[in-house]
């Protein structure tokens, strides 16, 4: 029995060695620096992975190119660059050419998304925190293009952590790791944006629609509680919701603030009792 297991281990080891024998594993960065590959990037709107990479092996040897998450491919015009969100390994035979679809999102929310005729030039790795966040996203096996896009824009355009919308436990873990990496607090509310009118989820609408979050308060006695929005001048703008006959103790006040009738600016969410006494307050940016 022991001999059989030994034999299996040896066989497996031999198979792995044979499979990788002769191929060089290099990062995209190294492959370019060493002149092993050349590439061209284009856009395929039909596919979900809208970035298409044409890659050539210029060497006489087979090569495995490791395309890193966080690598940015810049457009030659004022068009959003592509940011690779999922790493991949591209195996190329000597002097072979391959066309591969790459999971990528756009990296500049204030510019237009790439078109069919957009040309791409240089490439470089994104900032370390972006690379780390995308690595975490993949390690947590999160397959959510919208979330990947929000993470990218957080780093490329300074979108707030509140704009990263998370639902599942894995997604919340990702946001927690991002906050930890930045020494930032986990955002207490999420700010949703309208989809782009172009219908392309690589474009950013910059139209905030909804703020969602929870506020925890402790009530010393049963009371009526109101959630009010105050502007930066301290003036009450609107009542968001009322919780009548709220029992004493710790309670969670859910917030769903539709932003369609609220002007852009900084506000305070104030929780008051029915005598107008402030119980708690938090800041939000609309």
């Amino acid at each position: 029995m022991r001999n059989k297991i030994k034999l299996m281990v040896v066989m497996t080891g031999w198979m792995i060695t044979t499979a990788s024998f002769g191929s060089t594993m290099v990062t995209f960065e190294d492959a370019i620096k060493r002149g092993l590959i050349s590439y061209q990037v284009s856009t395929d709107y039909a596919a979900n992975r809208s970035m298409e990479l044409e890659i050539n092996n210029n060497s006489n040897n087979p090569v495995n190119v490791q395309l890193e998450a966080g690598r940015i491919f810049y457009a030659t015009q004022d068009i959003q660059p592509y940011v690779v969100t999922r790493p991949s390994i591209i195996a190329l035979a000597p002097h072979a050419q391959d066309e591969v679809m790459i999971y990528a999102r756009c990296g500049n929310s204030s510019a237009k998304s790439p078109m069919h005729d957009t040309r791409f030039g240089r490439t470089s790795m994104g900032p370390q925190l972006l690379v780390q966040a995308l690595t975490d996203l993949n390690n947590l096996r999160i397959n959510n293009n919208s979330l990947a896009q929000q993470v990218v824009w957080h780093y490329t355009n300074g979108h707030s952590l509140n704009s990263i919308i998370v639902y599942s436990d894995n997604e919340k873990e990702l946001l927690k790791r991002i906050c930890d990496n930045e020494n930032a607090e986990f955002p207490w509310y999420q700010k949703h944006y309208a989809p782009s009118q172009t219908g392309n989820d690589l474009d950013f609408s910059n139209v905030p629609t909804l703020i969602q979050g929870d506020m925890q308060v402790v009530l010393t006695k049963p009371t009526n509680v109101q959630v009010k929005l105050y502007n930066s001048e301290g003036k009450s703008v609107k009542t968001i919701s009322a919780f009548l006959n709220q029992p004493a103790g710790q309670c969670t006040i859910p917030l769903n603030i539709n932003l369609s009738d609220i002007a852009t600016g900084d506000y305070k969410i104030v929780i008051e009792n029915d005598a107008g006494v402030k119980i708690d307050e938090r800041s939000i940016a609309v």
Binding site: K238, I240, S241, L244, N245, Q246, S260, D261, A263, D274
Partner: protein
């Protein structure tokens, strides 16, 4: 040509400033205290039946008529409370009665211990959660002393919270008010006018001071409150002040 361009430029700037300075409408929901609402609103529905108030609030809007995004209202109700079949009403200013709105949604928590009613308010006005009054009796007859007539009546009592406020254009010697569940600690005031035009109010405003509630009210019965001259105190004529 230059003048035209200047005018266009100025118009453009004015429009831009006007758009950016569009004032944001404000809205405020205020939860009314028992003293506040019971003095203003009778708890009668549009069929003239008494209803029990649970919570009353008022939405005011500084701006357009109704809100695009309504104010969400949640009323917590635990199993100890008799918050069953609560209904949502709006105060009709013309009818001076509470008019039923669409029923609030009731959801029970996962632990099945607590539940809550959910509703929304879009337009300004006074709104409230009410429960129907199940004690169907014939109310309270108030009889003025001989030679006197009743001008106004106010009744307000808590738990269940009801209120009745009436001003009689033609003063009456006997009136019936549709309150059913009278409470000892409830408030009552009756304004009475005599033949000489003097105004009187009740000396004591405690319901229990005027009505013997020990036997209670039976279904279909009415209760009588016969006011004697001794119960009254003359009110100073405000116009003489």
């Amino acid at each position: 040509m230059k003048t035209r361009a200047l005018i266009i430029m100025v118009c453009f700037l004015i429009c831009k400033v006007a758009i950016s300075q569009t004032p944001q409408e404000t809205s405020d929901l205020r939860i009314l205290s028992f003293d506040e609402w019971s003095a203003k609103y009778s708890t009668l529905d549009d069929k003239n039946k008494i209803i029990n108030a649970v919570s009353i609030c008022e939405l005011t809007i500084d701006g357009k008529r109704c809100l695009d995004n309504p104010v969400e209202v949640k009323l917590n109700a635990d199993s100890k409370m008799e918050f069953k079949n609560l209904l949502w009403y709006r105060w009709d200013i013309q009818k001076k009665r509470w008019v039923k709105e669409s029923s609030p949604k009731f959801r029970i928590d996962r632990n099945k211990k607590n539940g809550a009613y959910y509703t929304t308010i879009n337009c300004p006005g006074v709104y409230g959660f009410f429960s129907p009054d199940e004690k169907l009796n014939s109310g309270l007859n108030i009889i003025a002393p001989s030679g006197c007539k009743i001008l106004t009546v106010s009744v307000a009592q808590k738990n269940p919270s009801t209120a009745y406020n009436a001003l009689y254009e033609k003063p009456q010697s006997k009136i019936n008010i549709p309150v059913s569940d009278l409470q000892f600690a409830g408030f009552i005031d009756v304004e009475i006018i005599d033949k000489e035009g003097k105004h009187y109010g009740l000396k004591k405003n405690l319901i229990g001071a005027h009505i013997d509630l020990r036997n209670g009210f039976d279904r279909g019965e009415s209760m009588n409150l016969k006011i004697s001259r001794n119960d009254l105190i003359e009110k100073q004529n405000l116009s003489n002040k």
